[in-house]
């Protein structure tokens, strides 16, 4: 079950296998929000989760942290953190893991901060909650964390509305680092920020990662950010992993038609300069599938330009239809175009 997707890599920090999550909607409808999601995170690595809105990126994070809303349920799969299956833990045991082992930076720091609590108190909250320190050293740590993310200590006692958008995001990062986690989930940490601040925040994340050696799972729909920041990429479509592999390989040799179209749809300054390929920016026709009315077979088949008959009947499997591209890491794609040896048939 727990075969490694990363041979020759020593200990795996987080290993997600065949994770499936459902949401129960009104009228007894079920939305299969995640199905067969598998990926690994190594210590100190950055993994990018990319995909369109609603493809299950945030749901994946929430499932791993077991913070799904009350109508959400993990139906199958495993989440191993340093070898322990998190899904087998009781809620109380899970609480101990949260923030100490893995912390999360939420989408939109504005809403994730309590408006009537001082920033410093909110950073300190997790430290005191997990009984990591007494009040005085915790206070000292809050000051250190604020300085680490570039906020003067003197602003510890201010409220969120007295901070700018970028500072709030920095405060969120400080908060996430409070209990020195090994793994940091960053859920679109730069949305709603202007480009300058976005760059600063990403720079800060990189800097912190180098200093503290933590692993980051970065959720984003900005492919440029992924290329710049990530070691590995998980491309998701309609609640499934379409392609998974080292960023370099996924970018340069995309195997799944969805990834190929996604990359073509991304504006590239160099491409338009080249007259031979200077074409209009590509789009993918159609819309992502509604999760309560999924197409049979491959979820991408209705929009796929290479769709075959088998695609509408059999769901391709990520872990068996894999492709060995380089010896160090496996590059996987859930697509019928690839046979078991990972050779494109067409």
């Amino acid at each position: 079950m727990n075969e490694t997707l990363r041979p020759n890599s020593g200990q795996v920090l987080l290993s997600v296998r065949h994770l499936a999550t459902e949401f129960h909607l009104a009228d007894k409808q079920v939305a299969r929000a995640l199905e067969d999601v598998s990926f690994d995170v190594l210590p100190g690595q950055t993994v990018g989760l990319v995909g369109e809105s609603g493809c299950g990126k945030t749901t994946t994070l929430m499932s791993v942290m077991r913070l799904l809303p009350s109508n959400g349920r993990i139906t199958s799969g495993n989440v191993f953190f340093k070898g322990n299956d998190l899904l087998a833990l009781s809620e109380r045991e899970m609480r101990d893991h949260r923030w100490k082992d893995m912390a999360i930076i939420f989408q939109g720091a504005m809403n994730a901060l309590n408006p009537v609590m001082r920033i410093g108190d909110q950073i300190r909250e997790a430290i005191l909650l997990h009984n990591l320190m007494d009040r005085d050293p915790a206070e000292h740590r809050v000051g250190e964390l604020l300085e680490l993310v570039g906020i003067p200590r003197s602003r510890r006692d201010q409220y969120p509305h007295q901070y700018s958008g970028g500072m709030r995001q920095r405060a969120m990062i400080a908060m996430a680092l409070a209990c020195s986690p090994d793994l940091l989930f960053a859920d679109e940490p730069t949305t709603a920020l202007d480009v300058m601040i976005q760059a600063q925040i990403l720079e800060l994340l990189k800097e912190i990662q180098q200093k503290l050696g933590l692993a980051i799972v970065l959720v984003t729909h900005d492919l440029g950010v992924v290329a710049e920041m990530c070691d590995d990429v998980v491309v998701m479509y309609g609640g499934k992993v379409a392609e998974y592999g080292p960023a370099e390989l996924v970018y340069n040799q995309p195997q799944h038609p969805y990834t190929q179209r996604l990359l073509e749809a991304f504006p590239d300054l160099n491409r338009s300069n080249d007259p031979s390929t200077g074409k209009d920016l590509a789009t993918i026709p159609g819309t992502p599938p509604r999760l309560n009315a999924l197409p049979p077979g491959c979820r991408f088949s209705p929009r796929c330009h290479k769709s075959m008959e088998v695609c509408t009947q059999v769901t391709p499997d990520l872990l068996t239809q894999n492709t060995f591209v380089s010896s160090g890491a496996r590059h996987l794609a859930a697509c019928h175009l690839l046979d078991n040896e990972g050779i494109q048939k067409s």
């Binding site: 942290m65 913070l67 009350s70 609480r95 101990d96 893991h97 949260r98 923030w99 100490k100 912390a103 999360i104 939420f106 939109g108 809403n111 994730a112 901060l113 309590n114 408006p115 009537v116 609590m117 909250e125 997790a126 909650l129 997990h130 006692d157 908060m175 209990c179």
Partner: protein, 318 residues
Amino acid sequence: MNEHWTLFKRNLRDFWKAFHRNKLGLLGGFLVLTAIIVAVCAPLLTPYQPTEIIRDENGRGLTFAPPSVHKPLGTDDAGRDIWTQLIYGARISLSVGFLAGFIAMFVGSLFGILAGYFGGHLDNLLMRITDILLVIPDLPLMLVLVATVRQLDLGISPLVVLTAVIGLLYWTSTARLIRSQVLTIKERQFVDRARAIGAGHFHIIRKHILPQIMPLIVANTVLVLSIAILIESGLAFLGLGDPTRPSWGAMLNFAFDRSAVTNGAWWFYLPPGLAIVWVSLGCVLLGNVLEEMLNPRLMAHHLEGGQSMIAVSGKGSE
């Protein structure tokens, strides 16, 4: 610590500034405060005891004596001073009303928070209990309850029974109000963050939910106090109070029982009635103003700006 104290003082000063501007609120505060002061200082404000009979030179009780210098509000049918009874009655009315109000507030907030926060079956159960209490006519139910408990002869003071019955029946609207507010707050993302840092339910309620609904609770408490005082007066008027320690409602009861109206003794029944109006009006005014001041949604937007937010422009420019 020192910093917190200065901050607290500044908050208090800001609060007072905003409060000061609102004349109705000031009036309400004045009404409530005077009633409390009079009740606390009752022995200092009268030479008599509430049960003491004032006699003339011949030793006969002065019955239904009209107001005069020595007895500012006259006497009742037995010759006891009305003013004395009124200010001692304030102690009973206010303490029963306040205590019942606080119990109602506590139960209501507890039900509202639990139902709103946990939702699901618990919400359903608690809200159905609330619905049942809402649709049963309050007054008959209270009459029956108070009368039944008294019949049981448990040796409990009628005032305690009264307080408990009012407190345990008058929390329904509060529970619904608090629940709806908790429902909106628990969906906010900072509650998710609190869950993500590994906080339990108790921690989230105490640190993140309660501070947000506290203003609502404070404002609503004051309003519920006035209702509790009115209900207490009503029940006491119907004879369910403690006859040995009469509240304002019980005084009205006595006045009507002993035909003060036919005797034209207006000084017997008007003062307790007006006192009830005094306090409940004060509570309502105060409660409305507190709600306005503490409820962020009713607060003026900061861009509208008060005097302090407008850059000082020279008057010469106009």
